[in-house]
């Protein structure tokens, strides 16, 4: 089946290149009976940088995992580069992932491999390139993130920001067309944060790739991206360009962007009244 249908799909892709690399149509996802995402619609054009934002538990990481094919939508369609992700088998998803790069929250470097071997990992697993060529490629990738000098270090010897940069070099090892960033700014000092922000911008331009940044760091995200999707409680509650988001009239979005303590998302955890708890009524 595959061997017959694949050439057709290829031709179609080349003949009518999708303007949008990712199209998400009315997607819902639930763990058992607990809904995580409901009725999400999204379209991400090629070459753009998009942020998916929301408070913790809003379902933004789940959305990223749906795009990467780690989990499958319970309803709706997830299209990535002309492939329907929820219909692909494991081999198909692995094939698709070779065109993706992902940077994890804390880097997720392989702790038993050196910086050099971490970056070389995918090249060794997926290509038959001679070691000399792998070396040149690895040094180029490391140079792009400014860590060519750190090639011999082990991940345990790196600072948080350096580990994130190595993870970035590793993610772009095979020149992906889609870059996924899961909370790339979490726990970084301002300088490292600035470095990562710049790298995301530069690498996207250099690779000609599309980037999706999942984050709750508002300022950094608004500086990097072309477009923002905002999730709350598993629903898409707003989207727009960074400027539109900054001047939003939506109360929920406003509270998030400006970090206000109280608003639609309440400060108090639901409780009995203070008077009841303090036994003042008695």
């Amino acid at each position: 089946m595959r061997s017959i249908s694949q050439p057709f799909r290829r031709t179609r892709n080349f003949a009518v290149p999708n303007k949008n690399i990712i199209e998400i149509k009315d997607v819902s996802f639930a763990y058992g009976t607990r809904p995580i995402l409901t009725g999400i619609d999204m379209a991400i054009p090629r070459g753009s940088t998009v942020a998916i934002m929301g408070i913790s538990g809003s379902g933004k990481t789940t959305l990223l995992r749906l795009i990467a094919g780690v989990i499958k939508a319970t309803r709706g369609e997830v299209w990535v580069d002309g492939e329907l992700v929820n219909r692909l088998d494991t081999a198909g998803i692995y094939q698709l992932r070779r065109r993706m790069g992902m940077m994890f929250q804390f880097g997720a470097l392989f702790t038993d491999l050196s910086v050099y071997d971490n970056v070389a990992f995918q090249m060794r697993e997926h290509t038959d390139l001679p070691e000399a060529m792998i070396r040149d490629l690895v040094l180029m990738k490391l140079h792009a993130v400014g860590l060519r000098g750190a090639q011999k270090l082990m991940p345990s010897e790196l600072s948080g920001g350096m580990a994130r940069r190595v993870a970035l070099a590793r993610a772009i090892a095979l020149d992906p067309m889609l870059m996924l960033y899961d909370e790339p700014f979490t726990g970084l000092d301002p300088i490292a944060m600035g470095t990562i922000t710049n790298l995301i911008k530069e690498l996207n331009a250099a690779l000609g790739a599309t980037s999706i940044v999942v984050t709750h760091d508002v300022e950094e995200a608004l500086n990097v991206v072309d477009y923002v999707y905002y999730l709350a409680d598993g629903k898409m509650v707003g989207h727009g360009t960074p400027d539109e988001i900054r001047h939003t009239q939506d109360a929920l979005l406003h509270q998030f962007v400006y970090g206000e303590m109280d608003g639609p998302v309440g400060y108090q955890y639901p409780a009995r009244t203070l008077a009841q708890d303090m036994r003042l009524s008695a």
Binding site: R97, M102, A108, F110, T111, F121, E125, L180
Partner: protein, 263 residues
């Protein structure tokens, strides 16, 4: 230990949970064996793990084997001497080691030395998203991380058990012959005429192969299934040692019962 609900409902839920987990564990080992192609095609992956499971367990296995053998030498002599048959010391030392102590004690040591390390390593790789990262790079972590460790454990265990037994016999010889002065000839001759290659030595090796399979399976599964937190990984490590030890002793009973039927 977490709180256990002891109501009928709680016990029922606990049972169902464990049956589910067992099913998952069985699927896991089947997938591991099915994904062994990578290990065969790249033996270097297995060699690397052989170093961590086998070579690093050498010292504890050799030293323990020597001491167990020396204690057997003393205790055996003490008991046999009462019947004037201290020349049977060699038989006693060799049979206890080859049939029981060698496979069982070395497997227990292996579970706490190499098994716990495997669980902790894989659990940490999972907690720090290294396994997810590997999957995102289109590399199957079962084939790349789990299977080589499985084969390394499977290969190391019988070798370690053999070294333990050989070291133990040497320890018994040191105490019995060199220290106490049992006749060297009768020590070896009685041993050699009493120990049967097929019934004693081969059965001992079969035991250690089974134990190796069980311990590596438990260790890898606990690591792979560990909740991705610090407590999760430490709990899984403890469970590896406890479950493998119980599994080794239960399997030993089963295997011994099976093997005795034929004798």
């Amino acid at each position: 230990m977490e709180h256990r609900d002891l109501s009928v409902r709680g016990v029922g839920a606990w049972t169902v949970d464990n049956v589910l987990r067992l099913g998952y564990a069985a699927r896991f080992i089947a997938r591991t064996i099915a994904a062994s192609g990578t290990s065969l095609a790249r033996p270097r992956l297995v060699i690397r793990e052989l170093y961590y499971t086998g070579v690093l367990s050498l010292i504890i296995i050799l030293v323990s084997g020597l001491f167990v053998g020396m204690v057997l030498g003393f205790q055996g002599y003490h008991t046999l001497q009462t019947y004037g048959s201290e020349s049977a010391l060699g038989v006693l030392v060799a049979l206890s080691l080859v049939r029981e102590l060698g496979p069982v004690v070395s497997a227990l040591l292996f579970a706490s030395r190499a098994g716990s390390a495997m669980t902790a390593e894989i659990g940490l790789m999972k907690a720090t998203e290294q396994l997810s990262a590997m999957e995102m790079m289109a590399v199957d972590p079962i084939a790349r991380v789990v299977a080589p460790r499985f084969w390394a454990g499977f290969i190391s265990m019988p070798l370690l058990a053999a070294m333990f037994s050989a070291m133990g016999v040497f320890g018994g010889y040191l105490v019995g012959v060199v220290l106490i002065g049992v006749d060297e000839g009768s020590f070896w001759s009685q041993m050699q005429s009493a120990v049967d290659f097929r019934n004693d030595i081969v059965n001992g090796i079969i035991k250690s192969v089974v134990f190796g399979f069980a311990v590596t399976w438990i260790a890898l599964f606990e690591g792979y299934d560990a909740p991705p937190t610090a407590e999760g990984v430490s709990g899984a490590t403890t469970r590896t040692v406890v479950t493998s030890s119980l599994a080794i002793l239960a399997l030993d009973f089963l295997l011994t019962a099976l093997m005795f039927q034929g004798v």
